[in-house]
């Protein structure tokens, strides 16, 4: 283990103090095995307590620490600094209002989730034990259930940036997850919701979301299957 000198450029914004976001550079030394989150902690704990960012689990499951590093959306906690060399440029996710520094307002993101009715809709009684679902039926939705709602996908999506009403990749992926769940009876309702200019049709298969997804979910592919389902359903 060795120490490494880093030049870390962070987009700062303090509400009530700054008129607009501006860059600040921190020159620090950290262990070469550090993650981006370690770097932020080092700055926050040792250099400037006013720096704000979100983090919690440190193990890439809670989705708190999605941010843009050298132009790429990543989870700070799982991203080693050696991927970037000695110059880091850290900024908040694009397409969301900045609350402070690296902290963005995710309320609109979570509100979109609610719009697609993200819960099993049943018009049959529940059995005494579990519903039968074969491994193959589970496989159809398996990967989509790994989404951690970090918003890295939405923030990478050029269709999302100019249009706040677009449901966006995460909510659409969630729609996919329920529509293709063999237990669910709510497909018609949800297909109607996503069959909209601000629904699946706003996805222009740019594939940025797949690249941004820290869970490597093939989001674009699932959204394409959703489009097919919408068309099939309307025939």
């Amino acid at each position: 283990m060795a120490m490494i000198e880093l030049s870390v450029k962070i987009l700062r914004y303090q509400p009530g103090k700054d008129e607009k976001p501006h860059w600040q550079v921190f020159d620090i030394a950290v262990e070469d095995e550090s993650t981006i989150l370690d770097v932020l902690n080092e700055i926050h704990w040792q250099h400037d307590g006013t720096l704000a960012y979100r983090r919690s689990c440190r193990s890439s499951i809670c989705g708190s620490c999605a941010m843009k590093v050298n132009g790429r959306n990543v989870l700070a906690c799982e991203t080693p600094i050696h991927r970037f060399g000695s110059k880091l440029k850290i900024e908040p996710l694009s397409g969301f209002d900045i609350i402070k520094d690296l902290v963005v307002d995710l309320d609109p993101f979570f509100a979109k989730l609610k719009r697609i009715r993200p819960y099993l809709i049943l018009d049959k009684p529940t059995p005494d034990k579990e519903f039968v679902q074969s491994p193959a039926q589970l496989e159809a939705i398996g990967e989509s259930t790994l989404c951690i709602l970090c918003a890295a996908c939405s923030a990478s999506c050029p269709s999302s940036w100019p249009n706040q009403d677009y449901l966006g990749p995460a909510a659409l992926l969630k729609a996919y997850r329920f529509i293709f769940d063999s237990r669910d009876d709510g497909a018609d309702q949800r297909l109607e919701i996503v069959n909209d200019k601000n629904g699946v049709w706003r996805c222009h298969t740019i594939f940025n979301c797949i690249e941004a997804c820290p869970k490597k979910i093939k989001i674009t592919e699932y959204l394409s299957r959703l489009k097919v389902k919408v068309v099939e359903n309307s025939l």
């Binding site: 919690s56 809670c62 799982e78 609350i99 819960y119 099993l120 529940t126 589970l138 709602l149």
Partner: protein, 577 residues
């Protein structure tokens, strides 16, 4: 101090602190009854650390092999090293199946058997394959499903709020005061019933699987309110923490057949638990690992051993253990298909917490006097279901089952009781905390104090403990508490003041850590996760009892008059695996 009544005063039937599995499951139950219910969380709900649970949720469904409620009950009793209250375990196993089937009906994507039923895998200390799982992301899918259910039932969410004081007086809960992290400002939540579901307190240690958020805020608030904590010295060290990071690698790895090996390539568990090997309970596996390390058989003589997945093969690893595989690859650059993964024991689960009865009502003494309107569930509670050592996959079941029961009991209470009046100056305690940190003149910063606490808790209050080490720790904690009085923050502003939140959390860490050390010093025996090198035997004659601890006049007062509930058919025996 005045408050903006329109904006900052909330009158809500049931207020739940914490948006993990216990909090959300309770909220859902209350919401279905038509009462108003709010969840207050310092993170967005899906960020809660229940999502970090990986391996499974325990229930004797008998989908993968023969199983029974009696077997689940006995395994849990034995796993607890006989300190758990058996009436609580009985209730738990009786509710467990229902809890899992309800989750399935909500849409949880459980992994399946060939014939389409919920799949189950073996787990440490369980005598049948009992862990119902979704790959190795079980907590994640349960948490997200519950959050979605709460959205459907219009639970109110106050995301990014930090609770600063409980409004409890004359043994009645009246509500609480919380700080709005995003905008700044104090809010009063006036409630008929309050549930504390704030999770564990593992952040007192440096090497831990816990999230940054797991600072034991609930236990510290209870202590501050003059109420007791129970069995705080019992903290589980998980045997498969990712080396140096402490990040959890699921017990599911061993459930699927992984080995733990030392520097000689030996599966050393044969020397400690020959029958169960790697699937002995966690306290035993962690102690065995630490013994190997202490005796020089760590890898290259260092402070770690290996978790070996290689013989499981690529397909099983990627299908059943994708998260374990990714974590090792991302954080240590170790490819678990080809190489063994460096691991060490990591502070993981808090068996101790806020004492409560089987109805999840918080109690204030050894005779079980209830604090009216105050409830607790999940890791922050001590019912006591897990006693001196929790079995893997019992925690998700605990949080969900007692969360659900808490919701039922709170609903009943709210329907029969009005809003107890608030105390005269409800904001004072919280305001003082904020003002001291933002307006004080002290020169201390929170980070070095926290670092010193965590490093030394790992050093002195780890898998093995002794009087000399713990006395050092106690002196140090008092020094750090003294230094804390001089802490001020760099950030004096309102909006998203992380500096302030971390400083407030540190006060909590310092407060309950003292209780942990006092309890561990007093308990002169070894039981479950609490192992004293100077008292290496379990001593049922003197210590088959719970620890209650209060802070009175700045000192920790202990009481050992709360006995353990033991049924005639489950008398304590020697614990062998």
């Amino acid at each position: 101090m005045k408050i903006d009544e329109a904006r900052n005063y909330h009158k809500i039937d049931a207020v739940i602190v914490g948006a993990g599995l216990a909090g959300l499951r309770a909220a859902l139950e209350v919401a279905k009854s038509g009462l108003s219910v709010a969840v207050i969380s310092k993170v967005y709900p899906t960020r809660s650390h229940s999502g970090g649970a990986q391996g499974g949720i325990a229930a004797a469904l008998a989908n993968a092999a023969e199983d029974s409620l009696e077997s689940h009950m006995f395994d849990t009793i034995k796993g607890s090293d006989y300190l758990a209250d058996q009436d609580i375990i009985e209730r738990f196993v009786n509710e467990a199946l229902k809890t899992v089937y309800e989750f399935e009906h909500m849409g949880v994507p459980f992994s399946r058997t060939e014939d389409g039923r919920i799949n189950q895998r073996p787990f440490g200390g369980h005598s049948s394959p009992r862990a119902c799982f979704a790959q190795d992301v079980t907590g994640h899918v349960l948490l997200h499903t519950l959050y979605e259910q709460c959205l459907q039932h219009n639970v109110l969410f106050f995301n990014e709020f930090q609770v600063l004081s409980l409004l409890v007086s004359e043994d009645v809960s009246r509500g609480l005061v919380a700080w709005d992290i995003r905008n700044g400002g104090l809010h009063i939540f006036h409630a008929r019933a309050v549930l504390l579901a704030t999770g564990g307190y593992g952040r007192a240690w440096k090497v831990t699987s816990n999230a940054h958020a797991n600072t034991g805020d609930g236990v510290a608030l209870v202590l501050e309110a003059g109420l007791p904590l129970e069995d705080m010295e019992f903290v589980q060290f998980h045997p498969t923490g990712l080396y140096k990071h402490g990040i959890l690698l699921s017990e599911a790895a061993r459930g699927e057949g992984a080995y733990i090996i030392n520097d000689k390539g030996e599966r050393f568990m044969k020397n400690y638990a020959a029958a169960k090997m790697e699937l002995a309970p966690r306290d035993i596996v962690s102690r065995s690992e630490q013994t190997e390390i202490n005796e020089g058989r760590g890898i290259g003589g260092k402070d770690y051993v290996y978790l070996d997945l290689r013989h499981l093969g690529r397909q099983k690893i990627l299908e059943r253990l994708p998260q374990v595989y990714d974590l090792a690859l991302n954080y240590l650059k170790v490819d678990g298909i080809k190489e063994p993964i460096p691991i060490q024991p990591t502070a993981h689960y808090s068996m101790g917490g806020i004492p409560a009865n089987v109805r999840t009502e918080v109690i204030k003494d050894a005779s079980g006097t209830v604090v009216r309107g105050l409830y607790t569930a999940g890791e922050t509670s001590c019912l006591s279901l897990h006693g001196a050592n929790r079995l893997g996959c019992n925690s998700l079941q605990d949080a969900a089952t007692f969360g659900r029961l808490a919701g039922i009991h709170m609903t009943g209470f709210c329907k029969e009781n009005g809003f107890a009046p608030l105390p005269a100056q409800p904001l004072d305690v919280a305001q003082v905390k904020i003002d001291r940190l933002r307006q004080g003149q002290g020169k201390e910063r929170h980070a070095p104090i926290r670092e010193k606490l965590q490093e030394n808790m790992t050093k002195y209050l780890g898998v093995f403990r002794n009087q000399e080490d713990m006395l050092k720790m106690l002196v140090m904690i008092k020094e750090l508490q003294e230094r804390y009085r001089q802490v001020t923050v760099d950030d004096r502003n309102d909006a998203f003041n992380l500096d302030l939140i971390e400083a407030l959390e540190l006060e909590n860490l310092l407060s309950f850590s003292e209780v942990i050390v006092e309890g561990a010093l007093a308990r002169r025996e070894s039981r479950g996760a609490h192992f004293r090198s100077d008292f290496p035997k379990r001593n049922d004659g003197e210590w088959l009892k719970h620890t209650l601890a209060w802070r009175r006049d700045g000192k920790i007062v202990l009481d050992f008059s709360k006995g353990v509930v033991i049924y005639p058919q489950y008398q304590p025996q020697e614990r062998k695996y």
